[in-house]
Symmetry: C2
Subunit: 424 residues, 2 copies
């Protein structure tokens, strides 16, 4: 049997009891005949506690040193996990991101994986050991300094390692049973998906589903890694994320709709009264790019011929709101727009499904469901397999529920159970 990469989040290893439970799971997989490589996050809230310590020392910690500090978190959890496995009678060795060959660029705090050279991991598993690898961290190719990959990036470490090792599966363990058709806190009858395609999962992650990190899914899709999202608190099958979810089961027809995602973390900015001339929109988005603001949806109203002016609206992460407004204020005279409107009381609701490609009428059904729930649509954006709308934040729950029901996604009974105490 081949290599299995397992990733355990902070809530699964929050204390000694959790670490021992996870160790038992790992040993069970090893005893079933697999080579096991484990990626682990820092225990519980350790990373936040370390950030607090840094804040006590300085409001602006140098990024290199912040990375050095934060990587202590996985160092603790991985060593303890290796000890717990040894206690169960199996060989285990822990490896830092650097030791595991996770080579990154030098962008401290949000480094990108450039390459993985897992020579020491391969040696360890060849020698019969279980390899425990620190998630979230790597080493800069240029400076040899320790880097971190950004919040939630342990998932990415796991999938990237799975790709580098040619693993047969990457299992992502957390405190939920898998990927659901909607957030079970909003839709209690949401169903767990047994299978979903990489591209659908990518759209769901990009639309606010928090179960998997976006970069992790991108990696899985690019290298065709099967990902199994499941709970570390039960032995139930979770959700398989596959290149082709119907593969190996030709009788199965892929569902038209995978699920409904929502996102309350964005804000909307409208630039009112932009002269409708070539290059004006470009100037606005260049100004935003220069301060590294990521834009999500963009809508430009048709110019009212009488005035020669147009309105441009876009959404962005709410945390970038101030930066964006300042950048736009600075180009006011140059662009000559009328005024700026800022709205952080918005929410995004997205319908995702590969079946959209071949099934017309999905958009009409979606909008009808929203209308019957009394939800007004402020902005619309679509991809090949996704329709997203911006609505009033207070109406997000109603919009998600109505959409979920309209597409027959409701289960007969409540399925979702959340096991852990702390967040991921």
């Amino acid at each position: 049997m081949g290599i299995v990469v397992q990733k355990y989040g902070g809530s699964s290893v929050a204390d000694a009891t959790g670490i021992k439970r996870v160790a038992q799971r790992i040993v069970n997989t090893k005893r079933a005949g697999h080579d096991v490589v484990v990626v682990v996050s820092a225990m519980g809230d350790t990373t936040d506690e370390l950030r607090d310590l840094a804040e006590q020392v300085t409001p602006l910690p140098p990024p290199r040193e912040l990375d050095m500090l934060l990587t202590a978190g996985e160092r603790i959890s991985m060593a303890l996990l290796a000890m717990a496995i040894a206690q169960l009678g199996h060989k285990a060795q822990s490896f830092t991101g650097s030791q595991a060959g996770v080579i990154t660029d030098s962008a401290h705090g949000r480094a990108k994986i450039i390459d993985i050279t897992p020579g020491r991991i391969v040696n360890a598993i060849d020698a019969g050991s279980i390899a425990i690898v620190a998630g979230f961290q790597g080493v800069s190719q240029d400076t040899k300094d320790i880097t971190t990959l950004g919040r939630g990036a342990s998932d990415t470490t796991a999938v990237a390692l799975a790709a580098a090792l040619g693993a047969e599966v990457c299992e992502i363990y957390s405190d939920v049973d898998g990927v659901f058709t909607a957030d079970p806190r909003i839709v209690p009858t949401a169903r767990k998906l047994d299978r979903v395609s990489h591209e659908e999962m990518l759209e769901m992650a990009a639309s606010g589903a928090k179960i998997l990190h976006l970069r992790c899914v991108e990696y899985a899709r690019r290298y065709g890694i099967p990902v199994h999202v499941r709970s570390s608190f039960s032995t139930k099958e979770g959700t398989w994320i596959l290149a082709d979810p119907t593969q190996g089961d030709p009788a199965m027809e892929q569902a038209i709709i995978a699920g409904v995602a929502h996102d309350r973390s964005e804000a909307k900015i409208t630039v009112v009264g932009v002269p409708d001339k070539v290059g004006e929109a470009a100037r606005i988005f260049e100004a935003l790019a220069s301060v590294e603001v990521n834009i999500d949806m963009v809508v430009q109203n048709i110019s009212a011929a009488a005035t020669g002016l147009t309105d441009i609206s876009f959404t962005l992460p709410r945390e970038d709101g101030n930066t964006a407004m300042s950048a736009l204020a600075r180009i006011h005279d140059e662009v000559g727009y009328d005024k700026l409107l800022y709205d952080d009381q918005i929410g995004k609701v997205s319908l995702i499904g590969a079946g959209m490609r071949s099934h017309p009428g999905i958009t009409a059904r979606f909008f009808a469901a929203l209308a019957s729930a009394g939800v007004n649509i402020e902005m619309i954006s679509t991809s090949e397999i996704r329709i997203s709308v911006i609505v009033d934040q207070a109406q997000v729950d109603a919009a998600v529920q109505a959409t979920h029901t309209a597409f027959d996604l409701d289960a007969d009974e409540v399925e979702a159970v959340v096991y852990g105490g702390t967040g991921r």
Copy 2:
């Protein structure tokens, strides 16, 4: 000006306030024109807390993983210290033992430094940075695994780095003002020594003085590194440990006696009725060596001719007591001794001074002081510059006080102040 290596113990960096105070000291040294390399221990009780965590997971943690775990402690303190220095407007970079080039053997938990290849440290200080190095840790030459050097070994890291960098001085900061003629908790009128020789400091450390780690002093003597032991809570001069304390000050005559040390951590074993034949003592000490028990003092009574039997007494660390007794029990039939006596209610009192070499009568004066204080001597051992006696543990304080007074070491007033809260 040259390179100054400064080492700060856990009590000096116990919290954010301590870290900021230490950062200010470091920056002051840098502003005075020195290149500064700092060695730092883990914050306060971090190392003990990490050991507790390990114990919650397994009673017998694999040494490799325990080292991986414990090294998280300095990772946290060094990163925070670098941040605090940056906050004061100076460049600082932290380095793990491995990054600093601290190459060791593979004996996890008690690794020895084999070599120091401080290329990255040199580059950092050449670029104007202050280099912060994790104490207590290194990397194995053979396995490339992370190692620790044993409790209190950050002092050793500092002196070894000072030697490798050709530093002009290694400053060891703690929560006491320097090296005293006796433990101020026992002798309130103990005097701070301004200067002491490497060899005297070595004997004091080996005799129970806890201010400096034994291996650190050995390193300093071998490479002739001037060490300045001082408090991180005051700006007073501490104690200089030098190859020749009279150097540069020809008018100064070296003191005959440097101080009185004591040690309550040993136990005594007496093997009663050993056949007085060639090779019997060898068998006993081979049995102890095979279980890695370190012997300190050894006394063999003159054989009573009538019986052909002799008694052998020796002292050892109390924590090795059980191991030693078991090893001796196993060779009972082979050696044919009468019985074993175990006494852990002993204490060792040592008088140390390079002046002993040229001043006869020291031993007589020492023993007379003990006698007048009513202290009975159980064992005696001497070196060229040290006399040690084993006494009843309850009489250690009286023995130290009487000796201190007999050699005119008492100051006119109380000098010692202990600043910190936690231990080193």
